[in-house]
Symmetry: D3
Subunit: 234 residues, 6 copies
Amino acid sequence: MGSDMNETERQKIVIKLSGSVFNFNTQSVVLKEYADLFMSLNEKVQLIIITGGGKIARHYIELARALNGDEATLDTLGIDVSRINARLLLTAIGRLGYPQIPKSLDEVSMALEFNKIVVVGGLHPGQSTNATSALISEKIGANTFINATDVSGIYDKDPAVNSDAKMFTELSVGKCMELLGQKNSQAGTYELMDLVALKVIQRSRIRTIVMNSDINSLKDIILKGSNFGTRITF
Amino acid sequence: MGSDMNETERQKIVIKLSGSVFNFNTQSVVLKEYADLFMSLNEKVQLIIITGGGKIARHYIELARALNGDEATLDTLGIDVSRINARLLLTAIGRLGYPQIPKSLDEVSMALEFNKIVVVGGLHPGQSTNATSALISEKIGANTFINATDVSGIYDKDPAVNSDAKMFTELSVGKCMELLGQKNSQAGTYELMDLVALKVIQRSRIRTIVMNSDINSLKDIILKGSNFGTRITF
Amino acid sequence: MGSDMNETERQKIVIKLSGSVFNFNTQSVVLKEYADLFMSLNEKVQLIIITGGGKIARHYIELARALNGDEATLDTLGIDVSRINARLLLTAIGRLGYPQIPKSLDEVSMALEFNKIVVVGGLHPGQSTNATSALISEKIGANTFINATDVSGIYDKDPAVNSDAKMFTELSVGKCMELLGQKNSQAGTYELMDLVALKVIQRSRIRTIVMNSDINSLKDIILKGSNFGTRITF
Amino acid sequence: MGSDMNETERQKIVIKLSGSVFNFNTQSVVLKEYADLFMSLNEKVQLIIITGGGKIARHYIELARALNGDEATLDTLGIDVSRINARLLLTAIGRLGYPQIPKSLDEVSMALEFNKIVVVGGLHPGQSTNATSALISEKIGANTFINATDVSGIYDKDPAVNSDAKMFTELSVGKCMELLGQKNSQAGTYELMDLVALKVIQRSRIRTIVMNSDINSLKDIILKGSNFGTRITF
Amino acid sequence: MGSDMNETERQKIVIKLSGSVFNFNTQSVVLKEYADLFMSLNEKVQLIIITGGGKIARHYIELARALNGDEATLDTLGIDVSRINARLLLTAIGRLGYPQIPKSLDEVSMALEFNKIVVVGGLHPGQSTNATSALISEKIGANTFINATDVSGIYDKDPAVNSDAKMFTELSVGKCMELLGQKNSQAGTYELMDLVALKVIQRSRIRTIVMNSDINSLKDIILKGSNFGTRITF
Amino acid sequence: MGSDMNETERQKIVIKLSGSVFNFNTQSVVLKEYADLFMSLNEKVQLIIITGGGKIARHYIELARALNGDEATLDTLGIDVSRINARLLLTAIGRLGYPQIPKSLDEVSMALEFNKIVVVGGLHPGQSTNATSALISEKIGANTFINATDVSGIYDKDPAVNSDAKMFTELSVGKCMELLGQKNSQAGTYELMDLVALKVIQRSRIRTIVMNSDINSLKDIILKGSNFGTRITF
């Protein structure tokens, strides 16, 4: 399994990849671009990608809610779709990817032994993929956790409805909790970073960046070290 | 559980429910109607429903194929979606349903011990949900296997392109194989009844009906004993 | 599996039993008393008991923290001990208990099919046993969730240090979140009701009581319907 | 896990080893010879060996059929015996073999990560070991699939009953299907290459050779590149 | 399930059925007779049958030993064959049997919840099927453990070589240990009752009978309460 | 992974580490010392450490016995605690340890593929951790099995009660069995080396040393090759 020296040298980066990348009209070329970026990094960086559920997840969750499904079942549907998204991305990555989709923190730990790109969906009901990503970052001692989401960073107001919303380049985790405290936690609901994720980031002081998931921003931040999005401070 | 007398009395009906029932624009009320039909039957009949993958499955399969995924991975994506569809239907059925989605023939056997409606998706790569349904029918000794599909039955030509296509009310399993012999077996491809399914039906002489999956036809055939679709003969 | 009528009639009560019941100096007679209470209820009530980890869990967690274990490992040690506590209680319950300790929400659902007392420990790292109990309550549609803890209810200040602390008989879930917002979330830390638990209780409006875990209070509230502790309102 | 360069260089050969190699009167020296051949190849070739069930499988299948077992149970008995044969061969291979018998395509993929000889039995009821071998070949992108069977290749008639039967050195997959179309599919029945196997070979254009399983022929074809048996063409 | 009253009333009998019942030349009618006997008892008695491996197990074990397999692998081969024998007997029992072969003590406990005949093979390497049977007897609180073996009971000398060997009708467990103390424990070796089995019988004072496995003796002892074989005393 | 040459060169040492190392008052620095010793050996030696249950195991076992738990449940509680101890030691070892606690011999074999320190607790009810350690030694072909226990070696009498007890520096396995023959086998009872362990050691002639588990003795014997404790001879 390579030398241990090698293992300790490789940086570990956890990327939560927004479910919006996987959609009813997603093009395979876009997925290929993400895969190519990740594959080009594999020599130097241990990557763990967590894929969100996106609109297909929400499609199932809404149907299940209309059928009076309990929230845990709704979560499970979201997790199931996020795992399909994970498998799709893994297909694009091919032989440089760890060949299974881990289903628990323990399986993520095992997967790291293989020095390949690890792709994960959600893990358990009651845990958003953001929280899962934070827990994985904590478990494996990630150097950086990139939350690649649908907006460019964390804003003081919802940028979708407020034209004067201002994005923070830095934001303390405490401030972050305040801003997000009022959101509710129905399965599949829009949430930049939920409270569990923030608490985990806080307790283990995980270096965290919230940024846009578009491929060019990701390339710039990872390959060129550009500054993007909102950095969470402690 | 209950008494064994009870068990031997209840007929066992396996229904393969077309993936087209589960779609991007599926309405929850439609799923509720299917669920209500199945729930109304549970007292008298042991139902095993196998859900197909439908268009969402094909969406993922096409993306994976464009990304050079192997056929087994394509099959797996289809199975994963079919299991999500199964869970969605199970949600509509609620407490009358067996609470898990079985993932192997063995788990289907176990599920039958609970006298509840069993909902299953695909089982293994390399096996269509039709073949899976036939194998389940064989394994549990089903009294009838209803293949509820997108057309009204088996035609002498493809009814979608030939306006003069004629539907058979009865068709021998041998004739059926001949008609379908030329189809190819790429994952997710349209196939009324693939050859594995037909061979299983043949070797265990399973009473099989190919018919339309619309709710009214299903109600009529199950509740009123109407004649529908194509009956396969031996 | 009894009749479905029976199933719908039996109330479902989820009891989180404080880890303090299971301790270095716990007497078997005390466990027997809890077991006897639960066994006496089994005819009328579907009970799901979630056992905490208690001091033995904290013993392991502190050692692991001193050894630089990551938080997920610390959580796992706590879960492992809580499951041993669950097995011990199950031993006292004997044949009226479901013979396994479920390890996921799905397994809890399965366990309910057997009409026996279900005993569970923690489920996943990153989830307190309180949060787990709330998620189980939600998943199974519990009629009541009793959080049997080390204090008599929720106070305006910490009763251990403030002699003038006042217990609420009722407290809105929002107020509850405010009171507990400032607590941190290190594994094994004292927390009456963490935020995940409260969010779950809120989103599914679960009838919740926080009370002391002593056997007499439990008997009174369950057998006589006495009022105890703090009721969470919406 | 070695370098990726290494992985991409090593050819992948899938060998279906006839169940007739494992028999009531099989000598350990014969198994040792096969093991030695496979071990000598491990440096240059990634080998995946699928072992058939043979006469011991048929012994159990016949008893089970006489006891009215369903076909899936019969298949399962055959799979169980083929896995015991796999473990026996693995024992002969020793530390150069992957230490477990994979039970699904996913487990086969994982096993390949270890650069050892992978030995597999059957995988699922309703799937012959030939079909399983073809599916494995497809899943892992095998360079060659050798079906080492009881006859020297594919004949125009059954060579056991027709002294004038002629072996094909090449045969198109379509022709092959025609020849085998009439065979039935009872569990354990003699079948050179069943239709599922052929369809898989066809859809993924897998280079396939049907030949005799005797150790000398295998040595010649693998070590010397001799021509043997029947090559399937597209 | 059913009523608990029912459960406590039914006697639990564990029968270790000699592997010699399952052999190269076993007739299906013989298996049917055993199955019929067990099925006729199911109303009144909870039966757990543990099947031995017999000559087919020894065939594989000898081959593996000649190939330098470690003892644990040899044990595993024996267990695998004993489980195939279990599945074969289960096939003969049909719907009155629990549909799976339990693979651990925990699974045996679960199986008992279904009020069906439970058929088990070996469980773990390093544990003979005799020891397994004793452990199962202990775990479930069996009323009687019948060790149906190849000889009529326990003799003072090996009856196969000593024509004057005398069978005990009763034998203390201590005496029994002395008699068997000198036997070695190579996998698959002939052993009436190994030391682990005897220690378990002793510590839990399990009522144990060692007798011949022929169908008529079994019928007489179970149906008529005849005295047979050797009863172990404490 | 790595080269096979490497694998065959590394000695394999199995150490059963007494449960007394893990206790109510265990200090993390002590565990760190053990971990440091094991980590310093990893380059040259393949270590497999089996941790006992110790006093916390006995605490649970005694409570369960007082609650009329069956012996298998008592064993399971002991195994559960031994696995928590294993995880704690693994935490101290960190990234040089195999990241999971194997739960069967098969999983131990898999774990060895990773060239890391493998930490294991108990495996199955009915098997002491001593017997488990011997079986693991046998399965993997260990060069040495060190039973690091609470006394300095095997004595002719119990040294705790007899001041004139004499320790053997060498003892034949047969003699060893005689000495230990009279001990009983209740779960958690004090036993230097139980009979199953001894039989396994005997049948596979495993080089075995019984010695004190204190860190200095272990260092001396492993690092300096000092003579300690009792060597078992054949």
